[in-house]
């Protein structure tokens, strides 16, 4: 057993040492994999169950009950403050509001995602794999326990007669089969699957509260109007997710990106917007071969 597999479960070590290979590939993908000169070694996986700590009222991370309260905000993180235009003070009137990037939630997500990814790589490295193809990842709540499970699964492969990657760290991709073959043909080599989550908390101020509950109340407009604070928070969550992913690209290309957005309404106007972006980081290893212009066809039958 190599050092890389030192903390793998015993069953995983026995399975990976087995003479039989396993793969999550479909039969066509398996055939395409062999055609590419990739030898499947085993299904590899990584898990990490994370518990999110309390980030609400009273925590060190909470922005506080007024715009000047100190919090766990990181320098340079996104924050935007909104102030009441009505000019009066009342306990029930939200005089200020804020959009705030929850960097601590983002780093917790990145920790869970990165840990489970690295465990999958450990399994692959223990087999001497060069890459992991057909990666599938899942982030879900674990059986109503208030915890979040990160799970990676993929097929470890070896490039027949090929050199190991730099540092022995296997490359990874969500692609397999025909799509992987086409990428290689087009001159794109997979480097890694990349993902990032951006979390933006909306603390509604009076105008946002009125607009999100139907434009009523003090000075609230009675015709449709853009809710600037929430619209900006949505845009910020997407822009931050792209920024975090771009930081992992180092000039490479992101193919097949997928954006997933989860919104959780906490109170009238108050919400959390979590945006996850994932995709394939690809490196161009040869000049692009432009395919001939496609010829339209009509299929009979």
């Amino acid at each position: 057993m190599s050092d890389a597999s030192a903390d793998l479960p015993e069953a995983a070590v026995r399975r990976l040492d087995s003479a039989a290979f396993s793969s999550g590939l479909t039969v066509p993908d398996f055939a395409a994999c062999l055609e590419l000169g990739l030898q499947p070694l085993a299904l590899v996986q990584g898990f990490c169950v994370m518990s999110w700590r309390w980030y609400g009222a009273g925590s060190a991370y909470m922005r506080g009950m007024n715009p000047y309260a100190p919090g766990g905000q990181v320098q340079g993180a996104y924050a935007e403050t909104y102030r009441c235009p009505h000019g009066f003070v009342s306990a029930e009137h939200r005089m200020w509001g804020q959009n705030l990037e929850q960097t601590w939630v983002e780093s917790a997500w990145a920790q869970g995602y990165g840990t489970s990814y690295n465990r999958m790589l450990e399994e692959a490295a223990s087999l001497g794999a060069h890459g992991v193809i057909g990666v599938a990842d899942r982030v879900a709540e674990l059986a109503d326990t208030g915890t979040v499970e990160f799970h990676f699964l993929g097929t470890a492969v070896k490039v027949m007669d090929g050199p190991p990657p730099l540092g022995g760290v296997p490359w990874t991709t969500y692609l397999a089969g025909q799509r992987l073959t086409k990428s290689i043909e087009a001159g794109f080599m997979p480097v890694a699957v990349v993902a990032a989550m951006a979390s933006v908390r909306v603390w509604a101020y009076c105008m946002t509260e009125y607009l999100m509950e139907g434009s009523r109340g003090w000075g609230g407009p009675t015709s449709p109007q853009q809710v600037e604070q929430v619209s900006k928070a949505h845009m910020a969550s997407r822009q931050l997710a792209r920024k975090h992913v771009r930081e992992q690209l180092a000039g490479d290309t992101l193919h097949g990106a997928r954006i997933d957005v989860v919104k959780r309404e906490l109170a009238q106007g108050d919400e959390v917007i979590d945006c996850t972006l994932r995709g394939n980081r690809m490196r161009r290893f040869k000049d692009f071969d432009v395919v001939p212009p496609p010829r339209p066809t009509v299929r009979l039958g």
């Binding site: 000169g37 990657p165 730099l166 999100m212 449709p224 109007q225 000039g251 193919h255 954006i259 066809t297």
Partner: protein, 282 residues
Amino acid sequence: MTDIPAVDVRAEMLSGAKSLTVAAAPTKSRGVTSDLSIDEALLLHAAGWEPVDLVCGVSVVSVPMGVWNWGQGEITSAAAGHNAAVREASAELRNECVKVQGHGVVGVRVDVEVHPHHIDVELTGTAVRPVNQGAHPAVPASPFISDLSARDFTLLAGAGWMPVGLAFGASFVYAPRRSAGDTMRQKTQNIELTNFTEAMYAARESAMERMQQSALDVHGQGVVEVKVTEGPMHFARHAVGFTAWGTAVRLVADAHQFVQPQVILPLDDKIVAFEAQSLRGA
């Protein structure tokens, strides 16, 4: 037909694997991001376009209180809110496209959520630009937006047309009510409920008219790939919403270019026309 030379994919794979044995040279390039599949990226290149960046546009527009209460006719505030949300989201998407020097956005995914007090519109797509920048040096002030796939975009461009923007229209209407007398009288009749027919007909036409008007606003000559949705609001079953959207297009060539598709007859027909067993007779 030209023969495409066979590619030695094993040799290509080895070249790719070798490229990862050395560290990548440091670069200040932003790198391309896109939600296109590799097929779509290749197809775009074949047509002279390339992806630049993943771009988004989001808008949340409020709906005044009380608009979903029982009433008659069209719910104009909701329709105005809906159309404003699409307009604002499109403007955000265009801004992002201009920032990354894109000439347009293809494959736009349209997500619309209608809530009792606000309407959320989210647009996500890939900004693209011509590969040969010399032919199109300036980034247009108003890039096109299209929900067409890269495949359909390529086909459209090949026929001499270009998308100019998203065409969108919405209409909301109260389900008409009948008087108690009418209800009782019509219980024993086979009869068209003309007030229902007229209300639904008018609402559908309004949504489509608004869609066509929005196409004209962006100087489109027509709309392709029109999608129509309709149904009651989940929070107000007496209110019915209609939306119609598609991609506004404009002829940029001197005349429509006929693509003259090649007819193919696949031989892997799933329907077995001849059963050998039938030769045996009864």
